[in-house]
C-alpha cells in the first residue's frame, strides 16, 4: 500500500496505535514515518492522548454505595412474600435450632433409658401374651388335701419352659415332713403355664401362698 498524502496516512493512526492494522499497512506506515517528521509528531500526539486517557484515575465504588448495592440485590432476590417469610422464620429459628434439637435428642435418650429400667408389666389374663415378659401362671393344681395347722405357707416354685415344676422352696410356714411329702406330690402333679419372653416359653419363678389346702378329689 502506497500512501499518497500525509492526510491519508494519518487516517490510519487510530487503528495503528491499537495494533489493528494489517501487516502491509503497518509496513507502509512505518516506511512513511521514517521520512516524515510532521506525521511522527502527529502520531506522538495520538499516543499522548491515549496515555492521558489510560492514565485517568479509575473510579471506585465507595463502601457506602457497595453496601447499598448488596442490600438492594438481597432485597430484590427476596422480593417474593413467601421467601421473605421463610427468611424471617429462618432468622428467628436459626439461633435456637441447635439447642432445641440437642434438647430433643437428650430427652429421647433419657426416655429410652427410663423405659429400659422400668419393671415389665405382668399379664394374668389367660390370653395370648402380648407383653414382652410374662411370669409363670397356674394351669391346674393337683387334687390334694392336707392341713397346715392354720398357719400360712408361702413358697417359691421354679417352673421350666415346659410348665413343669423343677423345684420349690418354702419361704415361710410349717416345715413338717408330712407336709413336705404332700407338697412334693402336689407340685409333681400340678400343671403350670411357663413364663414367656417375647412370646417364647422360658423358665421362671412363681410365688405361691396357701392358707389352707382343701382340694376335692
Amino acid at each position: 500500500m502506497i500512501f499518497e498524502s500525509c492526510a491519508e496516512i494519518r487516517s490510519y493512526f487510530s487503528d495503528y496505535v491499537d495494533g489493528a492494522c494489517d501487516a502491509r499497512t503497518v509496513r507502509s506506515i512505518r516506511y512513511h514515518l521514517s521520512g516524515c517528521k510532521p506525521c511522527n509528531e502527529e502520531l506522538e500526539r495520538y499516543r499522548a492522548v491515549q496515555l492521558d486517557l489510560r492514565g485517568l484515575a479509575r473510579q471506585q465504588v465507595s463502601p457506602n454505595l457497595a453496601l447499598r448495592l448488596r442490600v438492594q440485590v438481597s432485597q430484590e432476590l427476596h422480593r417474593n412474600v413467601a421467601q421473605r417469610i421463610m427468611i424471617r422464620l429462618e432468622n428467628v429459628f436459626r439461633p435456637v435450632l441447635l439447642p432445641s434439637v440437642a434438647g430433643f435428642l437428650v430427652a429421647l435418650v433419657c426416655f429410652g433409658l427410663f423405659l429400659g429400667m422400668g419393671t415389665p408389666r405382668t399379664n394374668n389374663i389367660p390370653d395370648v401374651p402380648l407383653d414382652l415378659v410374662t411370669p409363670p401362671t397356674i394351669m391346674e393344681l393337683a387334687p390334694m388335701n392336707f392341713d397346715m395347722g392354720g398357719r400360712p405357707l408361702v413358697l417359691v416354685t421354679y417352673v421350666n419352659a415346659r410348665g413343669e415344676v423343677t423345684s420349690y422352696k418354702v419361704l415361710s410356714g410349717p416345715h413338717s415332713p408330712k407336709l413336705m411329702e404332700n407338697l412334693d406330690r402336689m407340685m409333681y402333679f400340678s400343671l403350670f403355664h411357663p413364663a414367656t419372653t417375647f412370646g417364647v416359653p422360658t423358665s421362671g419363678r412363681l410365688v405361691l401362698s396357701f392358707r389352707r389346702i382343701t382340694v376335692r378329689g
Partner: protein
C-alpha cells in the same frame, strides 16, 4: 489478590472465564445470593468507572449503577451466553446510561469543572495515586492534566465518548465494543478515530488557551 467465598470456594475477584463463567451464570440464574455478591465484587468497580466517565457525575453514576445491577438481576434469566457475561453487563450499563441521559436531557459537558473538586484535593495530597515522593507542583500539574482530559472527554458527543471510554478506559476490544453497542466493527473504528481526533484537538486547544 482479594477474594470472596463463593459456593464454598474462595474465588479471586477477577472476571471469570469459560466454564467458571458458565457455572457462575448457572448460579445467578438459580438466584444464589452468594453468586450475586461475587458478581458485584467483580463488576461493580469497572461498571461504575464506565458509568462515571460516560456521565461525569459521581452521585448520578451511583444512581445509575444501582439501576444497572437491578436490571442485571432481573434479566439474568434471559442471558443466553451468545456473548460473554462481561459484554452483556457492559451493554446493559451503556444502555442504562443512554436512557438516563435521554430521560433527564442533561448535557453534563456544559457543567463547569471545578478545580475544587474533591478528587483533585485527594490527588493533590497524593492519596489517590500514592505518589508521595512527587513534588506538590508535579502532582498538581498531573491533576490539572487529568482534569483537562476529563473536560475534553465530557465535551465529546455521546457516540464518540462511549466508544473512547470503552476502548481506552475499559480496554475492550473492537469486537467487544461492537457487541456492547450493537454496531459493526467498522463503525467502532470510525467512531474511535473521530473521537480521538476530536479529543486531540480539544486538548491542544486547552494547552494553547
Amino acid at each position: 489478590m482479594e477474594s470472596v467465598p463463593f459456593m464454598g470456594v474462595a474465588l479471586d475477584l477477577t472476571a471469570p472465564a469459560g466454564s467458571d463463567e458458565a457455572a457462575l451464570v448457572a448460579e445467578l440464574k438459580a438466584g444464589s445470593e452468594e453468586a450475586f455478591a461475587y458478581l458485584l465484587g467483580v463488576y461493580q468497580n469497572p461498571v461504575y468507572n464506565l458509568v462515571y466517565h460516560m456521565i461525569g457525575d459521581q452521585s448520578e453514576a451511583a444512581d445509575v449503577l444501582q439501576n444497572i445491577f437491578l436490571k442485571i438481576l432481573r434479566g439474568i434469566r434471559q442471558f443466553s451466553a451468545k456473548s460473554s457475561l462481561k459484554t452483556w453487563i457492559y451493554r446493559i450499563a451503556v444502555h442504562e446510561v443512554l436512557n438516563h441521559r435521554r430521560n433527564w436531557g442533561r448535557r453534563l459537558f456544559h457543567e463547569p469543572y471545578s478545580v475544587d473538586d474533591e478528587s483533585l484535593h485527594l490527588r493533590a495530597q497524593g492519596g489517590m495515586w500514592g505518589r508521595d515522593k512527587e513534588t506538590p507542583y508535579r502532582v498538581y500539574e498531573q491533576a490539572e492534566r487529568q482534569a483537562g482530559v476529563n473536560r475534553a472527554l465530557a465535551s465529546l458527543a455521546q457516540p464518540y465518548r462511549t466508544v473512547v471510554v470503552l476502548r481506552e478506559i475499559e480496554d475492550l476490544s473492537y469486537e467487544e465494543i461492537a457487541q456492547v453497542l450493537g454496531i459493526a466493527e467498522g463503525t467502532v473504528k470510525s467512531r474511535l478515530r473521530r473521537g480521538r481526533e476530536l479529543l486531540k484537538r480539544k486538548l491542544a486547544a486547552q494547552m494553547s488557551g
